[in-house]
């Protein structure tokens, strides 16, 4: 039984991965033609593409169609399965809506009207090219609508998102709005139990996701530095931002009680590196960090943008669970997670006196959080990675868990009890 299911999972993983490799790197294998009309799979989507935006299909159009189709179909399946839980129902309708409109139809129509293709809800740094020169230029040169879209994106990223995350936790994005999350929650639902629950996986998670955030940050300021005219003001702003953030996490003990010392040190090192890089660019003719911003961004685009978020992110659903990318790679999740842990009212309440240790919550947690360990220890769950899908709450047979945004009188933001959870002493 187990061997059979392993073989099935690996086979499915290989098929999915190959499809992604083809889409990203060998679209001609799927029938993409430049001079002549498209053939094969891509050719099949030509009529739809021409009807929607008057140009033949590209591999990205095909990908968008299949993606949306999967989110809608499996979304329906999910809704039927969880029809008794209003939270699951609304959440799934929400991801289906955002996928169909914001991620698929609106950008296609924008393109048809000769505006730049833009998924408005796709915020920086998940959308790592938001601040790239061609993207900014494209928007700026598209008249008032372009400026409006640009401003909306900035307001969403820097004002609305932190506010919503404060109020509801990162779930408002990760499991209600985001496209990656949308696919994971619908088509990926069948694989949620394959996420690794070990404390090692948790460590790997933290050692991958924050470095990727740092790299995307470096890449973005490096590109902006070469794009912007007022380089000095820009550099000073970035340096002051990092300094202020460092001072905050170091001196606001009460709020950042769970932040390990090593994290603070790494952040200090990263801030110094960034500052030195920017200063060096001011005093010499070399670009910041001595790397050409174009090299940096094409490397990121290939390694993280395509390989990690696409090929591994979805191709490995059957092997590592449906949130591989969200858990181990997404820089957006890193930012929102940090906010969720330290600057948010969101947590999962647990009532140890009701827990029967059955393990449904841990098994079906797609982010690999050992929910049961917290529930058994009588601790509320406040983890950066939690996307608030609410499955632990729905599946719990005894009403132990509750997604909550109220800060009860006794609630304390504790350190992550990683050692506490896995050993008594």
């Amino acid at each position: 039984m187990n061997i059979k299911s392993s073989i099935w999972r690996i086979t499915l993983g290989i098929i999915l991965t190959s499809f992604y490799v083809a889409i990203y790197f060998f679209p001609e294998r799927l029938g993409l033609r430049i001079e002549t009309p498209n053939e094969g799979l891509i050719g099949f989507f030509d009529p739809l593409s021409i009807w929607l935006k008057k140009v033949p299909a590209s591999q990205w159009f095909v990908y968008g169609c299949i993606y949306t189709f999967f989110v809608l179909t499996f979304g329906l399946v999910f809704i039927i399965k969880h029809r008794n839980h209003s939270y699951q129902l609304l959440r799934t309708l929400s991801v289906m809506f955002f996928q169909l409109s914001f991620a698929f139809l609106i950008p296609e129509f924008l393109q048809r009207l000769n505006y730049p293709y833009l998924d408005l809800k796709n915020m920086w740094p998940l959308n790592y090219y938001y601040f790239f020169d061609w993207h900014l230029d494209g928007l700026i040169h598209s008249g008032q609508i372009g400026i409006l879209l640009l401003s909306l994106g900035l307001i969403l990223t820097f004002i609305i998102s932190p506010l919503l995350t404060y109020k509801y936790g990162k779930r408002w994005y990760c499991s209600w709005v985001c496209g990656c999350g949308g696919l994971a929650e619908t088509a990926g639902d069948a694989f949620r139990q394959y996420s690794n629950k070990s404390s090692l996986a948790w460590k790997v998670e933290r050692w991958l996701i924050y470095p990727i955030l740092f790299i995307v940050f470096l890449m973005t300021i490096s590109v902006l530095h070469s794009y912007l005219e007022y380089k000095f003001i820009f550099s000073i702003s970035v340096i002051s931002f990092l300094l202020m953030l460092y001072l905050w996490i170091t001196y606001d003990h009460h709020r950042f009680i769970g932040l390990p010392l090593v994290a603070k040190k790494i952040f200090l090192g990263f801030s110094l590196f960034t500052s030195l890089g920017l200063m060096q660019a001011y005093f010499t003719q070399w670009p910041p960090f001595l790397i050409d911003p174009y090299t940096l961004r094409s490397a990121y685009g290939f390694l993280i943008g395509s390989l990690f978020s696409g090929v591994i992110g979805v191709g490995f659903y059957p092997i590592l669970g449906n949130r591989v990318w969200c858990r181990f790679g997404c820089p957006m999740a890193a930012i929102l997670g940090f906010q969720q842990k330290f600057l948010s009212r969101f947590r999962i309440q647990s009532n140890a006196s009701l827990c029967i240790a059955c393990g449904n919550c841990s098994t079906y947690c797609e982010m690999g959080i050992d929910v049961r360990a917290y529930a058994l220890a009588g601790k509320d769950i406040k983890r950066s990675s939690c996307v608030g899908c609410g499955i632990c709450e729905s599946i719990c047979p005894r009403g132990v868990l509750l997604l909550s945004t109220t800060m009860g009188p006794n609630f304390q933001n504790e350190a992550d009890p990683i050692d506490y959870l896995y050993a008594v002493k």
Binding site: Y87, L354, P397, G399, L402, K425
Partner: protein
């Protein structure tokens, strides 16, 4: 260094081992004849149904016990030699102890008409039962489950999932008569009806006729003259303390092992906790044996504290219990009479279509809330316990009703005007 031996690695034994390790460096040996590593017994149904794997219902991996120097032993104990402070295993090995905690839990109660030797009769209690059910339920053609409690309901659910069309035979006039008022019991009946379970009430078995030599079909005769033929009998007829191996020991036994409120038996260095322990005295309206996961966990912790020399009394406190019948959750906190009772009133709301009910029981002479029973609705136990301890009035409870909800705000929770003061049916 003291050697502490814990007999039984259920939740009571494991909780005691963890508590001991948190407070002491003593040697700990945890013995089980069932399975060497602790598992969540309450989740066995999910393993049967394929929703969880065996690993998933093992809350603490073997490495956890190793890291905390809790030694595990898979062995069967046949007796305790109290004067010599040793345990005798079934293959005549001696295991010495300085302090002994007996946490051997329960065993299934087998009714008189059933002999456990019959191959067609199955329990659902031990780890081994899981294997036996896995091979027998899928092959059964006309299974019957007997009992009116959670285990019976789980057996029926497991069979229903495999489309075995089980019949459920209940001795009482409604399912759950010993823990549900009738209105709530009827809600469970509604669930059974929706799942297509044939329910037979007032059905008390008098005798069992085993199959003839070449057949596999058993015949069950009932008090009211009905007969049922079946090839699979699932028993959910309750549990008894598992203490047979102590019969000849000097330990004072009642139905269980008698303990004081520090979980200590009549022998100074022997403690007992969990389902096998029977309290010397208990609160009015409560029982001296409360065979329940939550009670066992709390007793294990208290026993652990007393064993390491930190005297702590076990207090029954406010009763709470949970269960789930198919998709219908049951939540009880406090004292909710099952039948009409002098001085007790109740506010009640029920919706059979959406399978919800909420009952607030109160004492009519003091006007204080005495307990809450809900079906299909989650309640905030921590808040409710505070309320009950403070002796909140029924009026205040009704006024603050929304805060009793322990579920997402998008979900339904009855408002004050939906609750009506009702009399019990009888």
């Amino acid at each position: 260094m003291k050697k502490i031996v814990i007999l039984g690695n259920g939740i009571a034994g494991v909780q005691a081992a963890i508590t001991i390790r948190q407070n002491s460096e003593a040697k700990i040996l945890l013995i089980s004849e069932e399975r060497s590593v602790f598992f969540a017994r309450t989740a066995m149904m999910y393993v049967f149904m394929g929703q969880l794997s065996e690993k998933d219902i093992t809350p603490y991996p073997e490495a956890f016990f190793k890291a905390n120097q809790i030694n595990l032993l898979h062995a069967s104990i046949s007796s305790v030699d109290v004067p010599k402070n040793i345990l005798i295993t079934s293959d005549n090995q001696a295991i010495p102890y300085d302090l002994l905690l007996i946490a051997t839990g329960s065993k299934p109660n087998i009714p008189d008409w059933a002999t456990s030797k019959c191959p067609g009769i199955h329990n659902f209690y031990h780890w081994q039962d899981l294997t036996s059910l896995k091979s027998n339920i899928p092959a059964s053609k006309q299974p019957i489950v007997i009992g009116g409690g959670l285990i019976a309901s789980e057996l029926v659910e497991m069979m229903e999932q495999l489309n075995r069309n089980p019949k459920l035979l209940v001795r009482e006039s409604y399912f759950g008569q010993h823990f549900l008022p009738k209105e709530e019991g009827l809600l469970v009946h509604e669930v059974f009806r929706q799942k297509g379970i044939s329910l037979f009430l007032n059905t008390s078995i008098t005798s069992l006729i085993p199959p003839s030599e070449d057949g596999t079909s058993y015949t069950l005769n009932t008090e009211n003259g009905q007969t049922f033929s079946t090839d699979f009998i699932g028993l959910g007829t309750g549990v008894l303390p598992n203490i047979d191996f102590l019969k000849d020991s000097p330990l004072r036994l009642g139905r269980g092992i008698l303990v004081n409120n520090q979980m200590q038996t009549n022998i100074e260095n022997i403690y007992a906790a969990g389902d096998c322990a029977e309290l010397n005295s208990c609160l009015p309206n409560r029982k001296t044996i409360e065979a329940n996961w939550y009670v066992a966990k709390s007793m294990g912790e208290i026993a652990g504290k007393n064993i390491v020399g930190n005297p702590t009394n076990y207090q029954q406190g406010i009763w709470h219990n949970t269960a789930k019948f198919f998709n219908l959750e049951y939540h009880l906190c406090g004292d909710v009479p099952l039948k009409a009772k002098d001085n007790f009133g109740s506010y009640f709301y029920k919706n059979s279509k959406y399978l919800h009910s909420l009952r607030l029981a109160f004492n009519q002479s003091t006007n204080q809330l005495s307990g809450v029973l809900s079906m299909g609705l989650r309640i905030d136990y921590s808040l409710l316990k505070n309320w009950l301890e403070e002796g909140i009035s029924i009026e205040m409870t009704l006024k603050n009703l929304p805060s009793l909800s322990y579920q997402n705000k998008l979900g339904f929770f009855p408002s004050r005007n939906l609750l009506k003061e009702v009399k019990y049916e009888y």
